[in-house]
Amino acid sequence: MKYILMMNTMKAGRGVPSWPKKDLQSHITFMMGFNKELHERGELVSAEGLSFPDQAKLVRAGKDGRPITDGVFPESKEFLAGFWIIDVDNPQRAYEIAAKASAAPGPGGVPLNMPIEVRQVMSGPPPDML
């Protein structure tokens, strides 16, 4: 079963690079070790980080089909900061992995305990819609 683990951030979440350098380094070291462990267990499908929310654009099709871009978002909007796709035997294992990501170290090495949204990835559209 494939699951996506999503790490969301508020727009103000640009604060990460302002951490002391050693705290940022421990956070990155943790994430690299975490990804390596998932890879070695054969559970990692992919992991990606996204660029900062200030570069995000919202696109809609105009009447002529041309894209209309907008970069203004409500203050309350949560932005995807990064995600992991994992392939595991059951949802409990997905939750265990999410909890580990949640506990990544923040400033002063204190676990961030950030919320990680866990969603199953569909293998395809329902057969009656193909």
Binding site: S51, N113, Q120, M129
Partner: protein, 123 residues
Amino acid sequence: MKYILLMSGTGAGVEAYHAWPKQDIEAHMAILHRINKDLTESGEFVATQGLAEPKEAKVVRGEKNGLPVTDGIFPESKEFLLGYWIVDVPTAERAYAIAGRISAASVNMPIEVRQFATRESKS
């Protein structure tokens, strides 16, 4: 440059979609398949996924003992990721054009376009 095109919506929006006439859902799916095929042929396609329904979503936090704490209660207004496309394109404008096409195929839903983090975009 790799971009991710994110399609999001509320739980209520997903329920409304399920109530569409079958032929409209089929037409919608057919255009999305066509877009995937075109992107594959132009070499811009990296990946696409649909996610299971918002009502099955969980939010997980690590507790002090490291055990996962799950919660499935969300505000009504929360937007959930419904699916995404990852494309590899030469310019941001091309990513916007593809997002516009997906939007036009999906009742002009807004599509969030984000570049993958690179050394350049982080600096």
